[in-house]
C-alpha cells in the first residue's frame, strides 16, 4: 500500500470516511430541493427564489438507472493507468433526493455483472496518484 496521504480528487464533494462515505450536497431551506454538486447561492427550482441552503450528506445507497463502461482512455484531465484498464460506469437513482448521480463502478466489476434496478452503495476508491498524494473519488459498488 502506498503511504501517501489520501485526499479527495475534487475537494469537498464527499466525506473521506473510509467505512461509510457520503456525497456532500446541499438542500434548499425553503423548498427542499437537493443539489449535487452543492448549490449555496440560488435555488434553480423555478417555483422558488430562495438563497438559503444547508449542506447535507446524500443517501449513500441507490438503485442503478443505467450503466455502461469506458473501453477507451478518456482525454485529459482524466489520468489513466498505464496500460489503460477499462472501467464500468453507473447512473444511480437516490430515492430520498429523487436525483440520479453518475460515477465509476468499483474496479473489477464488469458490465455483465450489472442490471438496471440493482442496489448499489457508495464507496471511495483511488482515481489516480500524484507525486504527493492519492486522489480518491466516489464509486458505486453492487450491494452483496
Amino acid at each position: 500500500m502506498s503511504a501517501k496521504p489520501v485526499n479527495a480528487a475534487i475537494e469537498g464533494w464527499h466525506t473521506l470516511d473510509t467505512d461509510k462515505p457520503q456525497l456532500l450536497g446541499s438542500r434548499c431551506d425553503s423548498c427542499g430541493t437537493y443539489y449535487f454538486p452543492k448549490m449555496l447561492k440560488y435555488c434553480r427550482n423555478p417555483g422558488c427564489d430562495s438563497s438559503d441552503f444547508s449542506e447535507v450528506p446524500l443517501s449513500r445507497t441507490g438503485k442503478i438507472w443505467s450503466y455502461t463502461n469506458a473501453c477507451y482512455k478518456p482525454p485529459e484531465p482524466f489520468v489513466a493507468d498505464d496500460p489503460f484498464v477499462p472501467y464500468s460506469i453507473a447512473a444511480v437513482e437516490l430515492a430520498e433526493e429523487q436525483m440520479i448521480v453518475l460515477g465509476q463502478v468499483v474496479k473489477g466489476v464488469d458490465v455483465d455483472q450489472l442490471k438496471v434496478g440493482m442496489d448499489v452503495e457508495l464507496v471511495l476508491e483511488t482515481l489516480h496518484e500524484t507525486e504527493e498524494d492519492t486522489k480518491v473519488t466516489w464509486k458505486w459498488k453492487p450491494v452483496a
Binding site: 423548498c31 455502461t68 473501453c71 484531465p77 460506469i89 436525483m99 453518475l102 482515481l127
Partner: protein, 395 residues
C-alpha cells in the same frame, strides 16, 4: 395570420475531414444556396450565422465573418450559439426579422472545422465547470449515449441488433448522398464486429465529428410570390424550448440530474418537449409527417427520437426499425440523408443540413433518396446545456 416563411434556396459543402478553414465551407454552401434561390447576394438583407467555438474569433462572429467573405454589402448580421441547435436558432432569428417586416430575404449559414478525436474540455483544475468534472472522473460523450441505450435494452427489451439495424438503414440511405462523408453500406455483421466503445455501443453505433457547411435562403411569403415561387417549401415551425425543471434524464455534461424532491418530474422529458411546441406551431401532428431528420449521435438515440417525436408509444421504437417503417420505402422514412451516421457532426451546420435535406425531399429533388409525395418534414436535435430544436417544413 400565417407565421410561415419561404425557403428559397438551400446549399451545402460536403461533410468530411477536409482540414480547410471553416469559412471556406460556409461560403461554398452560401453561394450554392444563393444560386439555388435565384437571387443576387446583394438582395440579402440579413445574414444569420451559427457560431463555431473551435475556430477563434471569426467563429464567434460567424454571421459577420461570412458576410465579409461573401463581400460586405451593408446587410445586417447576427450570430447565434446554441450548441447543436445553433443553426435552428440562427434560422429563428432570420424568421423573426422577416416576420417583423425588417427584412425580406435572409441568409442562414453555419460551418465548422473540427479537431481529431475526443472533444476535450479546457485545461487546469476547474471543478466549477461540469464539463471538466465529468472528463476528470472518466465520463466522456459516449458514456451518456450508452447509458440511454442500455436503459432501452434493460427496460424495453431492445437489442444490440436493433441499434445495428438503425446503422445499416442510415448507411443505405446515405450511400448515394453527394454531401455525406461516409459512403459504405454497412451490414449487421460489420456493426457487431466493430470495437466496443461504451457498452452496448460499438464504434459503428456512435457518430464522428466532421467538417462541413450548410446554408439556407429564407424570405417572406410576399417576396417568394413576387419571385414566382409562392409554392416554395415553407418553414412552418421552429421550436427551441429549454428543459423544464426537474429533468429525470441525466444530460451531458452533468454529473447528476436535478432533484425532483420538491418540484416533481415534468410530464415531458426535454427531448420530447421540443417537437410538442413545433407540432403546435405548425398545426400538424405526428400522423402528418412524411419524413424526418433526427440527431442520431448514437444509433440507439435515433430510437429515442421516434418516441419523442410521437411516431410510436414509448418503448416501441425498435419495432419500427425492425419492420422497416423508417427505411426508405417504409411509411415514415427517418434520416434519408444518412443522418449523423453518414455525416458525422459539424455542430453549427448540422441543424441546417437537416432542413436542407427536408427541403430537397419536399421539392422532390432528393434523387435516389426521394420519399414519395413528401409533404411535411420534421427535424429534431439536442445538444449541451439545455439546447435543442425541432423544425417543421411543409409544402
Amino acid at each position: 395570420m400565417s407565421n410561415d416563411i419561404a425557403i428559397l434556396g438551400v446549399g451545402m459543402h460536403p461533410w468530411g475531414k477536409w482540414g480547410h478553414n471553416f469559412v471556406d465551407y460556409g461560403v461554398h454552401a452560401a453561394r450554392a444556396a444563393i444560386a439555388d434561390a435565384g437571387i443576387d447576394w446583394k438582395d440579402v438583407g440579413f445574414v444569420s450565422g451559427a457560431a463555431t467555438m473551435r475556430n477563434g474569433y471569426p467563429g464567434y462572429v460567424a454571421g459577420a465573418t461570412f458576410a465579409q467573405a461573401l463581400g460586405w454589402q451593408g446587410a445586417e448580421v447576427n450570430t447565434s450559439y446554441a450548441a447543436c441547435a445553433s443553426g435552428s436558432q440562427a434560422l429563428a432569428a432570420a424568421r423573426t426579422k422577416i416576420l417583423s417586416g425588417e427584412c425580406e430575404v435572409a441568409l442562414v449559414v453555419g460551418a465548422d472545422t473540427t479537431p481529431k478525436g475526443f472533444l476535450a474540455p479546457a485545461k487546469g483544475y476547474r471543478p466549477e465547470d461540469p464539463d471538466w468534472v465529468r472528463f476528470y472522473l472518466g465520463i466522456t460523450n459516449p458514456t451518456y449515449f450508452a447509458l440511454y441505450a442500455r436503459r432501452r435494452m434493460d427496460v424495453y427489451g431492445d437489442t444490440e441488433e436493433d441499434f445495428g439495424l438503425v446503422k445499416v438503414k442510415n448507411s443505405e440511405h446515405g450511400f448515394t448522398n453527394p454531401n455525406a462523408r461516409y459512403k459504405k453500406k454497412f451490414t449487421l455483421d460489420d456493426v457487431a464486429q466493430s470495437a466496443m466503445v461504451a457498452d452496448p455501443l460499438r464504434l459503428l453505433n456512435v457518430c464522428a465529428t466532421s467538417d462541413g457547411g450548410a446554408a439556407i435562403i429564407v424570405c417572406s411569403m410576399d417576396y417568394a410570390k413576387k419571385m414566382g415561387k409562392g409554392d416554395a417549401v415553407k418553414v412552418a415551425a421552429i421550436s427551441t424550448v429549454t428543459p423544464t425543471f426537474a429533468s429525470e434524464v441525466v444530460e451531458m455534461p452533468d454529473i447528476a440530474t436535478d432533484s425532483a424532491a420538491a418540484a416533481g418530474v415534468e410530464a415531458h422529458r426535454f427531448r420530447a418537449s421540443l417537437p410538442v411546441k413545433a407540432y403546435e406551431e405548425a398545426g400538424v401532428g405526428p400522423e402528418d409527417v412524411s419524413v424526418a431528420e433526427v440527431y442520431d449521435l448514437s444509433s440507439a438515440l435515433e430510437l429515442d427520437w421516434y418516441e419523442d417525436l410521437q411516431f410510436c408509444k414509448r418503448g416501441e421504437a425498435a419495432q419500427l426499425v425492425r419492420e422497416g417503417v423508417t427505411k426508405l420505402g417504409g411509411r415514415l422514412p427517418v434520416n434519408t440523408s444518412g443522418g449523423l451516421a453518414c455525416f458525422g457532426e459539424a455542430v453549427p451546420a448540422q441543424a441546417l443540413a437537416q432542413v436542407c435535406e427536408l427541403t430537397w425531399q419536399l421539392r422532390g429533388q432528393a434523387g435516389d433518396r426521394q420519399v414519395d409525395n413528401a409533404k411535411v418534414g420534421i427535424t429534431a436535435n439536442q445538444g449541451l446545456f439545455g439546447h435543442g430544436s425541432s423544425v417543421i417544413v411543409k409544402r
